[in-house]
Symmetry: C3
Amino acid sequence: MQFANSLITLTTDFGCDSPYVASMKAAIFAVHDEARVIDVTHSIPPQDIARGALVLAEVTPQFPPGTLHVAVIDPGVGTARAIVYAEIGRQRYVCPDNGLLSRLAAKNEPTRIRAVANPTYWHHPVSATFHGRDVMAPVAAHLSRGLAPEHLGPAQSDLVRIAWPEAHILPGNIVGEVESVDSFGNLVTNISAEQLAGVPTEETTRIVCGEHETFGIFRTYDDQPAMTLIALIGSSGKLELALVGDSAAAMLGEGVGSEVSIVW
Amino acid sequence: MQFANSLITLTTDFGCDSPYVASMKAAIFAVHDEARVIDVTHSIPPQDIARGALVLAEVTPQFPPGTLHVAVIDPGVGTARAIVYAEIGRQRYVCPDNGLLSRLAAKNEPTRIRAVANPTYWHHPVSATFHGRDVMAPVAAHLSRGLAPEHLGPAQSDLVRIAWPEAHILPGNIVGEVESVDSFGNLVTNISAEQLAGVPTEETTRIVCGEHETFGIFRTYDDQPAMTLIALIGSSGKLELALVGDSAAAMLGEGVGSEVSIVW
Amino acid sequence: MQFANSLITLTTDFGCDSPYVASMKAAIFAVHDEARVIDVTHSIPPQDIARGALVLAEVTPQFPPGTLHVAVIDPGVGTARAIVYAEIGRQRYVCPDNGLLSRLAAKNEPTRIRAVANPTYWHHPVSATFHGRDVMAPVAAHLSRGLAPEHLGPAQSDLVRIAWPEAHILPGNIVGEVESVDSFGNLVTNISAEQLAGVPTEETTRIVCGEHETFGIFRTYDDQPAMTLIALIGSSGKLELALVGDSAAAMLGEGVGSEVSIVW
């Protein structure tokens, strides 16, 4: 892995435009004035570790090798939950060890994990309620300046892993669910392009979500007339349900957790 | 035009704080690690090309010469709609050729237009649904590194143009409409300071919006008591209706498309 | 104070993701292409100077020495209200002289104040309604390039100060109020850790907010079962009321200005 990279990304549940994010940036610049900080999102629903894990898995692998990703969805802040440093693929992560890296680690085993335990690189006094600012931000800043990860704390053999709903693949039938809803109201499922490899894209294939159905798997949002419900493979490589020119989530009344089945 | 500029701005309809924006930034940094990325806004209403064209025209000309502006309001993503590179004034643009540059081009004819057609500078595999990440972001990053635009694709003679409502100027009477509403609730019209050049600012001039009226054209938001409806020339050089200390849009129940007339 | 710092932060009431913010950034880069601009927040409620003053006091002192903080909550834009440059602690500020620096200045007397009166460093023509873009942004950019503050305008002996509610400390009893609500719905009071120094943290201490009460002062958000109302010292060193795993503001129906009393 190449470590000469001053990029640090932030993913939190602090809320869009929260001054808490600016406090983390201040803590980073206080240690490493040349760092470059990029927001992934701060709109993870409060304390929703599963959603944070999903966004990290979809967005962070695309950054240049060695980028440091700090994720603060941390309902257990100040308690005995650990903070970890991990290298996964060509990326580096600093976050609470609460499952946030589960989805990344499921695709790609971590090649190095260290506990973040050495207070030398923290901001003091350390508050009991904001380790994003007082521990994770300064640690990431030190790493981006070149600190070797072995100084952070002892090696650790694994990460906390959380499960998430997987699609069920049967002959002629796949049952999955909506995993996220994007800002266009597209219903993004947990059914991947790989899982759909043998499924015909013709109109003989029926996709059902709640009381709604559509036939065939299309290529673009514009392949059918306005207000038509269509299924397609979205940009994250997963089956989506979209309403041409409008919000499928709003019009169908469906959302995260809604069952989606494919029959052919 | 001076091209030694590593600034890239982003204007999209992805929604405030969307992880899709972070994916575009990752795609930029993957090509040009030294790029500097600035958000114009990601709150363009979904697929609202007219609103995107307006924001681009108001904000982007103020950036340093040679800045690259990437705009992704792209209802036709993945279809036959083209992607273009254009130079307008001292700025550079990469966006779908769907009218997004209409308002800029109406003020200032483009001096160079190229189709973005050469896949050499794209991120592969190219998804059918996210050309912002897979085509426009990497192309902008290559340009900001110094790639000559002629490598992008063939020269093109014009851009797709869309119309928008223009104010009607009559003797003693101008009829326009609300073109946008800002976050303070000010109703910004399509009536420009130039069009108002001969209109008296005294209280003999009457401004009407729906069932509401106000007299005279003021200079600042603070020229009348709180909760007074006033007309003034706003910071984008257009007539605005404002409610002193509150939201005109909320209190008047008016918004984009509401007719505004001036009589004197 | 060390001035070799290209960081400029922005705090405004323009609304999250407003294109007006991008206009300020364009104005900064037009003067100083190497500036680095960080958003503190743009979600200050419109024209809420008191809230702006609070956020500036909590976030800006953490930045590297010499960072320039531009704050635009400016209901009097275009009127006779002044614009100031001030040095407070190791930070530098450019903002309307309307009380925005009151809370910072109460903790730490300004060491230098200049009126921003010399139009040489402004963007012309200066609009009557957007001095953030036309005056404050370019002035900050010039300062970050090394302009000596004495060129901005005459020295000034003091700043406009506004008052804010202070907690009342009595023997066995403190009465304060909710000063802000964060994005988790935590009710942050104006009662500081210093003011609580002699107060027992045991359950003999009773904290009351409206019709709700809780006993004892805890250390973390996770010290009690889900949906329990707890009091703790938050990351800004103030007493907070939090609902474990949920929003105290939403569940209690309390907000800014609600009385909070402590009895022991």
